[in-house]
Symmetry: C2
Subunit: 193 residues, 2 copies
DNA sequence: CACTGCATGTAACCTGTTACATGATTTC
DNA sequence: GAAATCATGTAACAGGTTACATGCAGTG
């Protein structure tokens, strides 16, 4: 139940369900997306378990808010989760299945376009993370190597995203090229096989 | 509903639920794992939709089997799915959340060990795929560049897995080194912060 | 007064996991 | 005759998604 632990980690700094949703949509989304309905539901469950505590708070604008934070028991639970070692689990990537079955399209140009679209997608994700890193470097002179505490680990997740998206974008560009090379030359039939 | 389409693609070659489970555990597992119970349940739904057809078949050993194959309507559905372009969707990787919250362990040596464990995990996955590729090369002299038809696309999924696992394993090795360098030297207090 | 942003929640549904249940045939 | 392998299915539950419902406060 990783959502539980992402919330436990996030709530070391107190936040409302609404604020959590925003953090999910910006940072956590990259490795554990969650919908608002699921966040509120899970918060309730974690509170009955005694892992987070909620309290009523006033709001600068808008209705009253309910602010949660991780309890001592919640923190102990989070530490156990971290101490058990990496939870790697399975990948679930529909696009890889699509690549595997691309042959069923029986259309080498469409396959090449498919790989080109994959390249745009991952190049865009890479550019997004590169922008985040560039901003960080200009905002904080200690950025890559002087980072301490929680920032050091946050930066690690950034370099992982960078490495992964870079590898996939390069793969897509390379394979798009190989697919291009297989295309029938002009003047011959457009279909393969 | 990607499981539907993975089954549609797999059943271009007729197979029983049991055989499909084996293919999931060897090949499809790398991008779309599925349990036996889910496979049988989905097969029933796809059959009512008219996308696959099942027929009774004799079995060399063991009880009677039910062999399914993709129908013309199922193939049309599969092609529509491929033609709509890559479905990239979200990543859900608990270990990245763990890295982000590693600071809560407040133990730099444990964090270094965590990264070392990640490195072993991904190095092992990489080695597994490298072995698959090596076997393919020795079995088929056309292997990397002369591959045609469905094999060309199957090889693409292999090079993707190779690129991705290589990138992650290299990241883990590099960051393990950086974490090592931050360790307090012998004789000083063992805890960071 | 309409719209936007803040804020919290519920209901129905779909997908995926775990556990259980059954039975045939072959090999030791 | 016990164990392994072939083979198919169901039930209960957990986790995640989509859609809906409600209401406050400030801005134009």
């Amino acid at each position: 139940m990783s959502l539980d632990h992402v919330l436990l980690g996030a709530l070391r700094e107190p936040a409302s369900g609404y604020e959590l949703k925003q953090r999910f949509d910006t940072v956590f989304r990259h490795f554990w997306p969650a919908e608002q309905s699921q966040i509120y539901r899970t918060l309730q469950r974690l509170e009955s378990a005694g892992w987070v505590a909620g309290r009523q708070a006033a709001s600068a604008r808008g209705p009253r808010r309910r602010v949660y934070s991780t309890t001592a028991r919640g923190l102990a639970q989070l530490r156990r989760w971290l101490a058990q070692g990496p939870i790697v689990g399975d990948d679930r990537h529909a696009f890889v299945a699509q690549v595997l079955f691309l042959h069923e399209l029986d259309d080498a140009a469409a396959a090449r376009d498919f790989l080109a679209a994959l390249h745009s997608e991952f190049a865009a994700r890479l550019a997004e993370l590169e922008a985040v890193e560039a901003r960080w470097r200009t905002d904080d002179p200690r950025c890559p190597d002087g980072l301490a505490g929680a920032d050091f680990y946050a930066h690690l997740t950034l370099t992982l995203g960078l490495a992964k998206y870079r590898a996939i974008a390069e793969w897509a560009a390379r394979e798009r090229g190989r697919a291009e090379a297989r295309l029938p030359t002009r003047g011959t039939r457009a279909r393969t096989r």
